[in-house]
């Protein structure tokens, strides 16, 4: 599939393609940081009445979300070290090592090939 000419993208694809522009990740991260700052600041405009006491702390969900995600990633990296094996670990008669059978597919590229 990699040898096909580049497709003419429709409007939706072109919108998504903005993310592939040089510098786009930095811009996206910047926008995300601003959005985070905004929702964190929103904590001051209302009074919390959370049932769980610690959730009443300023920005609890923000800190907790950031910490949980970071923990999950590092724990997953650690777990991978323990449980990772070759792709054909269970032999060649395992779906992980098999090719997907063609009868259940309808391969087609964007140019109809």
């Amino acid at each position: 599939m990699a040898n096909h000419p580049e497709p003419k993208m429709n409007a939706l694809a072109q919108f998504y393609h903005l993310s592939a522009r040089k510098g786009a990740p930095t811009v996206l991260l910047g926008v995300l940081t601003l959005a985070c700052a905004l929702v964190l600041a929103l904590d001051v405009i209302y009074v919390k009445h959370e049932k769980v006491e610690m959730a009443n702390a300023f920005g609890f969900y923000a800190y907790y979300g950031f910490a949980c995600f970071t923990f999950i990633i590092f724990a997953a990296l650690f777990l991978r070290e323990i449980i990772r094996r070759r792709e054909d670990y269970y032999g060649d008669q395992d779906i992980n090592a098999e090719q997907t059978p063609e009868h259940m597919l309808e391969r087609k590229t964007f140019d109809g090939l």
Binding site: M1, A2, H4, E6, P7, A13, Y16, H17, S19, L29, L32, A35, C36, V39, L40, L42, Y46, K48, H49, E50, K51, V52, A55, G59, F60, Y61, A62, Y64, G65, F66, C68, F69, T70, I72, I73, A76, L77, L79, R80, R84, R85, R86, E87, Y89, Y90, Q93, D94, I95, N96, E98, T100, P101, E102, M104, L105, E106, R107, K108, T109, F110
Partner: protein, 565 residues
Amino acid sequence: MGFDQIPAAFYFFAAALAVPFIPKGWPRGALMLAIPILVAYNIWQMGFGTFATMPFMGFDLELMRVDSLSRVFTLIFCLAAFLGNLYAWHLKDTVQQVAALLYAGSAIGACLAGDLITLFFYWEGTALASVFLIWARGTQGAYNTGMRYLLIQIGSGVILIAGVVLFYRESGSIAFENMTLGSLGTWLIFLSFGIKAAFPLLHNWLQDSYPAATVTGTVILSAFTTKLAIYALARGFAGTEILIYIGAIMTLFPIFFAEIENDLRKVLAYSLNNQLGFMVVGVGIGSEMALNGTAAHAFVHILYKALLFMSVGAVLFRTGTSKASELGGLYRTMPITATFCLIGAASISAFPLFSGFIAKSLILSEAAYKHYDFIWLILVFASAGVLSHSGIKIPFFTFFAHDSGKRPAEAPAHMLLAMGITAALCIFIGVVPNALYSILPYAVDYEPYTIAHVVGQLQLLLFALLAFGILFRIGMHPPEVRATNLDTDWLYRKMAPSVVLTCARGVAIIWTYCADLTLSKLWKLTERLYRTHGPEGRMARVWPTGSMVLWLAVILAAALLVNFI
């Protein structure tokens, strides 16, 4: 006999019988779409009550009990069957079509079962019908996976009927109502439900089998078995406290496995396991609000999980792979599928205005209200985990991230239509929550769109996204690599055969030693006998007559002597 006297499942079974005789193409497809609509309509308009009873071996079986709990599950099962069949419109495989109808019918029949014996028959029906969706892949790997799946599923049914027999002996009743854990019978029934609900350590049939099914089979599979188990738990064990802790563990452990899994359909299977955890917690709390949360979450979960399986399935359908290490950048030629996948991801992550937001919060709020603070913290943690593997990983590594160079065509029109309807429902339920709340088992007194809830949820999700952005930029996010990650299936796929082989070798060594020892003793005995009795042996010598007479005389003398003494 009125229509309300015909059990809902029988419509599906009749259609399954008819399908082989109906021409392939639109007539068959139309039947497969019409049946779920017809059944949903019947259930919707017939009102609550017990319909269709049948005598069986001295018992009165209740084949169709419609109440507020069974109705909501039946309706979502019908909707899932409709969407799954629409997604599979292109299919020409009669076996898969029959299996899909029998499977959906069995799941619906089980939901409407008013007694435990009826439940058992439909319970086994789901196992037998669904395995053909795995075997339809047609490879040796799928056959092996299907056999493992079938053993576990049938095993669950056997445990169920054993539990039912014991329960009947204890209570004298086969009614499928709320039970209290205590006796062996109730524990067996609980275990049986737990296997299908993918409790921790009993879960791996799910991640083993769902990625092995066909493109369309996985979408169908994702809807029924596990949610039937959730319904059964809600019906039979609501308020059983141990479920709160089981559910909390279920929300946690799949997150880490999903994060490092390469096959995206397996990632979704882990994600499914994690979502079941929220529902199990709701059942464990057992209040009206929590059971509403469980039913609502099952309803929306079936939709967004099907949507995610559909979008990854469409990619597999066009490219031949669902492995993240081989995908990326597909938005260029599959932008509509990418959009639907993003809607599914936003729904499962519980962004405001999407379906997950208005359902999951019912369970979290009730956990906090009932002062399960630690459980609540776990559930919030798991919510961030859902974002990591289903909210980010699935769409990002499939449609964005690096360019894999693949330029597949957009999904076929019927798949896009199925995804479009599902995506629209995910948004509709998120925007108009009362549409779902109105069909829940109990009256809902809950407002999801409060400023505290919206801001809190946005903080959780956006800051988790920020963590992803930073970790990805600094290269700390787990790369997608081809691998097999061990799970509990290792116990019966590697360890158990290894233990059996080791034991067999030990027995063989002992047997050989004993046999050798016996043979050598026998050989020595033979040799000794040969020496004495063989042709050259002393006992075989030709004795002279004189010698014999002499010995005879000695014996006679001895006899005389003894006689005189």
